[in-house]
Structure formats: structure tokens, C-alpha cells
Symmetry: C2
Subunit: 105 residues, 2 copies
């Protein structure tokens, strides 16, 4: 693959493919994955980080056990248990590792 | 963007970016999203289909209410409730729409 930074022209050959998505962080959707370090959380984290389209989503991973100051933010977003992925106004609770009461305890 | 099918050579300019992933269905990982048409399921389906990297995952959507013949397959994969996403040996139960008993009922 030849790439010229000065002209923003790329010459590529098979098996490279062309993606029209802009890899610009400003156009990416923010997603936050909250967990508490439990085995269920780690497994879910691995699978979620594998499947998410990194061209469209900027995923922040937050360990609530290590960052207890962010528990209130997670609850305000609607997180009832971890692991959970917050996407805009939606919360995807993925399997069940621990309730928020257990995370606080 | 100029594209020559005969030589597999592409000449592209900003804002196109280059993706090394092969868009070959044979190299893609299969994922199955099981649901039962409930509002929780539909919301989860919308978010999952949005976030999944379609360059890497081939996602099949299965409505178990309409395809009851596939309930056994879902249970064998470890699905306890819907909506759920099966990825290889892992099952991600996403929120809770209905138990498998309710789906069968």
C-alpha cells in the first residue's frame, strides 16, 4: 500500500478494502461499558470490545470498583447491574455480574 | 475514488480510509441474535445491529415466536432468556424481555 501524506492520496491493492466511514473521533458515538471486575464482567467486556464497530463507536471501559466516584453517573444513566453498556439513552444490561447495591457494598 | 476491477487496484483520496479487514463472508464470525418480538427485544436488536462491526460479524436475527423450531437450538447454545446474542460458546443475555419458558408458552 502506498500512502502519500501530503496529498491524501492512497493507492491500494487487494486485499485492502475501502471504507467510507470517517475515522474522526468527533463523528463517533460515545459508549460506556461499566463493570466491576467480576468474571461475568470480564467475559462480557471481551465480547463487547470484540464486536463493537470501532469505526463508529468510541467505547470507554469503566471499572466501578476502582472508580467508585462514577457509580452515581452510571445510576443516573439507568445502570441497574453490571456489566452494562450505555449507548445514548439506552442501557444494555449484559448478563448479570453484580447489582449496583453489591458494587457499592 | 477510482476502482479497477480487473487489476484490484484502488486509487482513493481523502476522506476515504483503508481497511485491512477482508470483507469475505468465509472469514466472518457468525453471531445469532434470538428474540421474541417484545419491546425490550426490539430495542436491544436495534442497538446490537447498530454497534456490531459488520466487517467482522455476520449477524442472523431469529424471532423465536415465529420460528419455534429453533427454540431447542437456542437452549442448546445456552440461551435462558431473550433477547440474547450467541457468539461462539458465549451467550450475552441483553436486558430481559422474556424467559425461554414464556417464549415456549
Amino acid at each position: 500500500m502506498y500512502y502519500s501524506e501530503s496529498t491524501d492520496i492512497f493507492i491500494v491493492s487487494f486485499p485492502y478494502y475501502i471504507c467510507p466511514e470517517l475515522l474522526n473521533p468527533n463523528t463517533m458515538t460515545k459508549a460506556v461499558f461499566y463493570h466491576a471486575g467480576c468474571p461475568v464482567c470480564i467475559n462480557a467486556e471481551n465480547r463487547i470490545t470484540e464486536i463493537v464497530d470501532r469505526n463508529k463507536y468510541d467505547v470507554e471501559i469503566v471499572h466501578l470498583g476502582e472508580h467508585k466516584g462514577r457509580i452515581a453517573e452510571a445510576e443516573a444513566a439507568g445502570v441497574k447491574s453490571v456489566p452494562a453498556l450505555v449507548l445514548g439513552h439506552d442501557v444494555l444490561h449484559i448478563n448479570h455480574g453484580a447489582s449496583m447495591a453489591e458494587v457499592k457494598g
